[in-house]
Amino acid sequence: MKINVRLLVLLAALIILMPMADAYAAEDGFTSTYTYNYDYWGDIRESPDAYRVSDVIYSSTLGLEKAMRSPKSLFVRDQDLYIVDTGNNRILQLTKIGTHFEMVREIDHVTIGADQMEAFKAQSDLLKNEDGSDYTDENGSFYLKPPLGSSADRGPMVLTADGVTYFNNPNDVSVDPDGRIYVADRDNNRVIVMDKDLNYLQMLTKPTDSTFDQNQSFLPNKLVVDTSGRIFVLASNINKGLAKFEADGSFTGFIGANTVTYNLWDYIWKSYFMTKEQRSQQAAFVPTEYQNIYIDKEGFIYATNISFSEYDLLWDNAKPIRRLNAVGSDILIKNDRYPPIGDLQWVEGSSDHGASKLYDITVLDNDMYVVIDQTRGRVFGYDPQGIMLWAFGTSGVPAEGAFTRAVSIEHIDKDLIVLDELNSTVTVFTPTEYGNLIYQASEQYLLGDYDGSAQTWEKVLQLNANYNLAFIGIGRSKMRTEQYKEAMDLFKMAHDRTNYGRAFRYYRKVWVEQNIWWVVVIIAALVVFFFVRKTIRKMKWEVAAYEHSKVHK
């Protein structure tokens, strides 16, 4: 009977709440949310959607004859989106018209001018005949030497008789403002540079420098180009950081090497308790390789890193996101309680447990950065202070906005573009009102419009009352108008100790100034009281002593 009553109450509650749920769905078109944020205690707080899927690009919507096959990377220059269709050895150039993308062209070859032919051949590691002349097949095409450690008798075809070279497993592309296209042509062991009409300009091959291990193939995975034309290449097998090439193609060393991480215990265990055989089978203490790189508008390279132990993440030794300056040190600002590491809760016990693996990063024009996680298919946004703005996304389910293997993220203005390697889809996310308000408030603050920023934060709070940054933003504005008590309450809500301390100092100062008179009065009264009491006691004692002396006389 008791249970029945409970059930009835539950049903009644459901019936009452139902119209509200409908209204919510009708107003905003969505019934559920998959956006969240972490609160001060590291607990998940659901939040309104910051981004929603506005478009999904499939091979069919682009009208491609050959469907995309395991595309690996995206690049955006102005309104143009480049998709590296690795499996088909081509690069697709799309352009954004209005709200959707249209196909511009397929880039799959580079034409080499007759005057550059000899230089190109000389720079390529071509397969030779026994007499020293270049090996050619029946069509007159040239081949590379077989890859190191391979038993094949020839490597990939690298040049046709009429001076065209094709890509072989391209992994990344970059385009500079002048339209020059840089392709990390992995299995051809080169980075090839062409102009916008696909005419060959130059090529970066394995550096002959002694700092580069000559027993390793040059396998460029990712590349970025800075404003002065310097090319930074992330290559497999290289753990010294990013290979830096000058604009003229000369190799000038490595920057930003990951530091070797091992702890004392590991060291002792390996050095004293392992047999030689065990040691040789274990990986040596080597710095880890970066996963992906992005160059922001100021020329700083953001790098992500996915090989670390989860223990290091907790103590911020792993540093999965880094911002490298010219000499390669990490200058990422981390002002939150938790470092930017993606998810703080790793869903133990489920199939997609473990720390976030941040596969790619993109930096918006307002210095916010967005990373994509492959463990759970999530996207995390951070502000320049390293505070998480929002997180959304899911993996596994076949739905728009869910990823199976997200590999790359890019942005056009504030739209985010995510590439899924396994599904071969490109998903475009557009910020919602909530997402835009967050950006607007932060931008206003950076521009010095503090009051405007506070007003925008108020609007954010109306949409999400759990948003710490909003409390801090409003608190700062209150502090400027000398409403210290209100500011303190807001900072306390956001657990912002530094700002609370600052507001509290002012509050204390004002309090002391206002209340000093009665504090002084009380202290004075106490002093007088004790003085009087002491005097009275002394007098009493003197009287008693006098009486005493009389008795004994």
Partner: protein
């Protein structure tokens, strides 16, 4: 005046001899924390301390801990008050305290210690006094400090903790009539002993629940057969 006071005191002593002893042993803590070597010796060997006072200090210690969690300014403490279970926290302080006392007492035969369990418990309780007298006012102080003045808070915090540990060390030394080296060894052994006790407790409870389960299932079986 002094004559009148002494008469007064005498009267009071006759009226409340136990209360007065309690008050004296309580106030003796002041001597102990500032003169630990002398203080701890007299505490147990000259009967200057009492169990009642020791219990008081333990209770005050637990209270201070809770008040600290509740009322320290959030600038200086990270406590998610929503999820804190006071009894659980108390147990996590009190059980190690008692287990360590028991372990030390158990090992005192092995180490030729002079102290009885009562003495050890009393010395350890009196060693908690600096924690109480520093951290209790510190709760108030934390509420008039700004975040960047936090070093003041943390220094006093560390002082109270180090003081307590030092007193515990000296307390054990004096109670058992050890030298410092032997005390150190006995402390290491005590920690090890505490681990053994915890292990035995775990085994005991697991066996107990197994035994209980055995009889419960036997009972069920009999009931099932009979019906």
């Amino acid at each position: 005046m002094s004559i009148a006071k002494s008469i007064n005191d005498a009267v009071a002593r006759k009226e409340h001899p136990r209360l007065n002893r309690y008050k004296e042993t309580l106030l003796y803590a002041k001597y102990v924390i500032f003169h630990p070597f002398d203080g701890f010796w007299d505490l147990v060997h000259e009967k200057r301390g009492s169990l009642a006072a020791a219990h008081t200090f333990v209770v005050l210690f637990l209270l201070t801990y809770v008040l600290k969690l509740m009322y320290t300014s959030f600038q200086f403490i990270t406590a998610n008050i929503q999820y804190i279970n006071i009894y659980e926290r108390w147990a996590s302080l009190l059980l190690p305290f008692l287990i360590l006392c028991i372990a030390n007492w158990s090992l005192s035969t092995l180490f030729d210690g002079k102290g009885h369990f009562k003495d050890i418990y009393m010395a350890m309780s009196y060693a908690l006094v600096p924690y109480i007298i520093i951290q209790l006012p510190l709760i108030l102080v934390s509420n008039i400090l700004a975040f960047d003045e936090g070093s003041f808070y943390t220094v006093l915090m560390s002082v109270s903790e180090i003081w307590c540990l030092f007193l515990a060390f000296v307390g054990l030394m004096e109670v058992h009539d050890y030298g410092p080296g032997k005390t150190l060894i006995s402390i290491v052994a005590t920690i090890f002993g505490a681990m053994v006790i915890i292990f035995l407790l775990l085994v005991f409870f697991s066996l107990l629940s197994d035994a209980f389960g055995y009889f419960a299932s036997m009972y069920r079986e009999i009931v099932f057969r009979l019906s």
